[in-house]
Symmetry: C2
Subunit: 240 residues, 2 copies
Amino acid sequence: MVGIGPGGKEELTPLALSYLQQCTVIIGYKTYIDLVKSLIGEKKLVAYGMKEEQARALEAINLALSGERVVVISGGDAGVYGMSGVVLEALKEKNISPRKVNLTIIPGITSALKAASLLGSPLNHDFCLISLSDLLTPWEVIEKRLRHAALGDFAIALYNPQSHRRKKLRRAIEILLEYKNPATPVGIVREAGRLGEEIKLKTLAEITEEDADMRTVIIIGNSQSYFYENFIITPRGYKW
Amino acid sequence: MVGIGPGGKEELTPLALSYLQQCTVIIGYKTYIDLVKSLIGEKKLVAYGMKEEQARALEAINLALSGERVVVISGGDAGVYGMSGVVLEALKEKNISPRKVNLTIIPGITSALKAASLLGSPLNHDFCLISLSDLLTPWEVIEKRLRHAALGDFAIALYNPQSHRRKKLRRAIEILLEYKNPATPVGIVREAGRLGEEIKLKTLAEITEEDADMRTVIIIGNSQSYFYENFIITPRGYKW
């Protein structure tokens, strides 16, 4: 399982690249395969759409058992809402040892860290990552995590804030506003590190549904965060 | 500001490398400079010890204002308990525009993600990063965050769990055990991605002070996490 980072070849690690180049089959969402296609030469490619993670994890395992050197790619990090978990779940389900398929996981730069780098230093203190997708996680669990992230005064990175069908962002912001200052700095980054990258700075109270889709990461400061020009700073606690 | 990742050149992104090669001065902890020394050719190097972040941020700014192309390196990601925050704080303190020094932040793979990749998929659902260092953060704030991370049922990555002088790990685990199952899977990774890498699997109740120093990251599962052979799986919620 290989995390390809934000998408550009400049942010793919040499270790990840070596796996992409030495494998015989690459499995992954079409979007991610397209991002690395120019780097990998002739390979068997298995592209697929959303919501087919389990079938593809099982296919990856079968191909590996048949002797192929299989790379399953994830955007960002392989282990942050990525494919490494579902492949491990599938191995356990089928009672196959990870050793038998020589399982290796190669990390990549996850979108919260890429987005944060474009925003200054919003995550430079304790922070939480929360996905607002309730496809696999009950919404009550997500609400509970939002509340505790706010009560703990964590900076927060929201993944999958919204899709065409899921419209939960407004509700999530309402919950955060029960505990957090409406003036809390927020960075909204779409296509972080990819073509069409867009950055917006707002306060927590100003976020609207129009700000986000599936390719957006929203980073929300803690109680100490502030704007400085077009950056967000979450201070460490230094005395100046 | 450049994040060099876990330490090996195989996990330094090409973008980070290009900044290291094109700058005229590199500033950073000696440990990190040593890790990249072989890659950078002849440069002015400013190595320094711990607890001098502010002085070095100011020196970086002065060198940049005098026309040098300065890279400040951080291990892992530049924005996760890294140098990007203190440099931005210093710019604000001195009322200097980030534009004036052409400030750019290049992310890297932070140690939680490297450690997680070695452990399987412990962070494959919502998670928190918490540093146990109370040098700059009041211990009460850290305790509050530990409690809310546990109450929110986040997986948790603990940074700076312990040093020779700070012995807070036992107390932190006590707090987590008030809310979390003692059998919760834990991965303890020392020198993740570097020479001397060590991996231990334990339960939350089994962690002792001997398990950690400043170079250790401790990853603690959520209520759904389980061991499978020598891996930790935090499931996404798929039905099999």
